[in-house]
């Protein structure tokens, strides 16, 4: 739907542009086939670049969502999760997830 809309706009504007120029249109698009093919080729490469970038961003998104669903923050989870030590009165606890702390920065901050 959006693609049609865009193609429609594109057709509309190029139509207007060619009608109104009134015969004295300036040859703007590179005319020689050699130059034209360079433009098409560059366009194809450009789209490959964009689609590649989108694919990578999607991969990153999936990865981050995976981590978020596990409950890790997207800040420093690369450094691993730290597991706190259970105290003597914790023995026998069923839910051990309360011992998981978020990854701490390995470098001490100086204030």
């Amino acid at each position: 739907m959006i693609a049609k809309l865009i193609l429609g706009c594109f057709g509309m504007v190029s139509g207007i542009a060619s009608d109104i120029a009134g015969g004295q249109a300036l040859e703007v698009f590179p005319s020689s086939p050699y130059d034209r093919y360079i433009v098409y080729e560059t366009l194809v490469l450009f789209w490959i670049g964009i689609i590649g970038l989108i694919a990578i961003i999607r991969m990153k998104l999936k990865e981050i969502e995976r981590g978020q669903n596990m409950g890790l923050s997207s800040n420093g989870w690369d450094r691993g999760i730290k597991v706190g030590m259970p105290k003597p009165y914790d023995i026998g606890k069923r839910d051990m997830t309360s011992f998981i702390e978020e990854g701490l920065s390995p470098v001490k901050k100086q204030r």
């Binding site: 670049g49 990578i56 961003i57 990153k60 990865e63 690369d78």
Partner: protein, 156 residues
Amino acid sequence: MKIPYSLVTRRTFLNTLFGGWLLAFSAGSIYPLLKFAFPTLSKEPDFVVLAARDFLSIPPNSIRPFAWGGKVGLFLKKTDGEVSALKGVCTHMECNITYRAEEKKFYCACHKGWFDDNGKNIQGPPPRPLEFFDVTVSGEKMIIARKGVKVDTARA
């Protein structure tokens, strides 16, 4: 030999891939933009074509300027009728020079530099002689070309 662990984390791999691709894409997109914004300024041509009549008819021991790219070129006719063309730019600090007909020398007012009518630097700070061009007359046209440049007279 297969190692049982991964050398990089998934996160590092993805980030590197993303950063690298983004860098390549951005560089490729910005390059034409920069090329458009910074054109090659004052590009000098390899040759210029002028109307022969206008230049050959000047009185002896005088000059006539012509456009050489963004700079000035000088067409010189000596007292004996010999013609030559040179770039009218001083070799010291690129000021425009002038021709002193009485002394048959070129003079640069910026730092009082003098050249003889063959372009040799004879007095003042200019370090090198003036640049001379090749002059070819073909029918109605006069072609002034940089030394060593072959010009196809039919196409010019």
